[in-house]
Amino acid sequence: MTAPSAQSPLLLEARALSFYRQDEPVFGPLDFRLHEGEVVLVEGDNGSGKTTLLRVLAGLLHIDEGELLWRGGRWLRDAYLGDTLFLGHHLGLKADLSARENLAIAGGLYGTRDGVNANQVLADVGLPGYEDEPVRRLSAGQKKRAALARLLLLPATLWLLDEPYANLDRTGIELVNRLLEQHATRGGAALVTSHGAVSFLSGEPRRIRMHA
């Protein structure tokens, strides 16, 4: 599903990227390149620093050592925000609001892709009929789907997905794969973490292997 063609422009590049927590190395030094249209799987055992890597790339954690380049230039927070979308362990959904209201606030903050609306994307992620249900009443898998709906609505190029397969059933896993595939064909890129040896992605995606 990922054809890392040499022609597609470079999106993100890490050079000897390392992160320390109280002088303890969490990961790195890590080198990788991410092109447009590429989906890369970040693999590693529990505690190998996958989530930390994604949080560094999202701009939530500072970079200790190494360099990060964005579209060939220096990584700058302001140029980067809005063009990336981070989906972490905490889904960023308000339990007292419905899935639709949660999407509305995300769209208000990040902007929306042209030609899509909240109802459409909620139907796409398999939540028709649950649009107005408070998120607290949804199951863990349905909450995940409500968060995944953000991916469809917001205009980001780079997706940073931390364990997007967790809590999802078989059709949910297929949904994530379909979203990733569509995103790649549109020219978007994604970094996806997974702790299992199994990858659910069809084909042979490129991998970044993390070691504790």
Binding site: A58, G59, L60, L61, H62, D78, L81, G82, D83, T84, L85, F86, G88, H89, H90, L91, G92, L93, K94, A95, D96, L97, E101, A104, I105, A106, G107, G108, L109, Y110, G111, T112, R113, D114, P155
Partner: protein, 228 residues
């Protein structure tokens, strides 16, 4: 692809926080109830002596309202940190300080405004002269947003720590003192027929400063809290 413009983003965030507060109306009622109970108890404890109550009325109402506000202060960013909404807000392509300003505004509207609305009732229960009422309301209108803004900085600073309630209370005390002194000073001066504009002007000046600086400080503090 459409970039999110600033004004709708502010409106969306404000609407979200107000909707959330409305869905948990019980939480809004709590500080109001607390203030009502405290002020009701004073005449019982001190005796229904008009002159005494009149003398302490302004101070009691101000302190009660400010304390009632502190009850809800702790929760300003907590749920956002717990459910990951704050990460989404920090990563949004919007000026974080302004977004946090909106959150503080929502917090003030849902906790302080109901208290200001019942403040004349509270003051009436303690026989505060009607002529002093406008001065007290003015003092509250300036003191409560100031306290919200100052409190927000401290809540943001302690956001990374668990059980921050104790620390927050200790840090907030020295910041509360000048606010209470100026607000109560204005009310006392008005009650004695003295000019009361100076302390009000001080409150206004502090508020103007806090309006500009507090959201910036909050943004910096929350970025640090998340970067841990």
């Amino acid at each position: 692809m459409s970039q999110a413009p600033l004004a709708p983003a502010c409106a969306a965030l404000l609407r979200r926080d107000l909707t959330l507060a409305w869905r948990r109306r019980g939480d809004i009622a709590m500080p109001v109830l607390y203030a009502l109970i405290v002020v009701t108890l004073f005449p019982f404890a001190l005796g229904p002596e008009d002159a005494l109550l009149q003398r302490i009325a302004g101070g009691v109402v101000l302190v009660t309202v400010l304390l009632a506000m502190l009850l809800a202060l702790d929760a300003m960013f907590r749920s956002d940190i717990e459910d990951g909404s704050l990460e989404q807000l920090v990563l949004a392509p919007q000026p974080l300080a302004l977004m946090l300003g909106m959150k503080i505004l929502a917090h003030w509207l849902t906790t302080a405004l109901p208290l200001i609305v019942i403040a004349p009732l509270l003051a009436g229960m303690l026989h505060l002269p009607a002529a002093v009422m406008p001065v007290m309301l003015l003092a509250l209108l300036l003191a409560t947003p100031l306290l919200s803004l100052l409190g927000a900085i401290l809540v943001a600073l302690t956001a990374g720590t668990r059980r921050s309630g104790m620390l927050l209370a200790l840090m907030l005390l020295p910041l509360c003192v000048p606010v209470v002194i100026f607000a109560a000073g204005a009310v006392a001066a008005a009650q004695q027929g003295l000019p009361w504009l100076a302390p009000i002007a001080w409150l206004g000046a502090a508020l103007a400063l806090a309006l500009v600086l507090a959201p910036l400080a909050c943004a910096a503090a929350l970025r640090i809290a998340l970067d841990a």
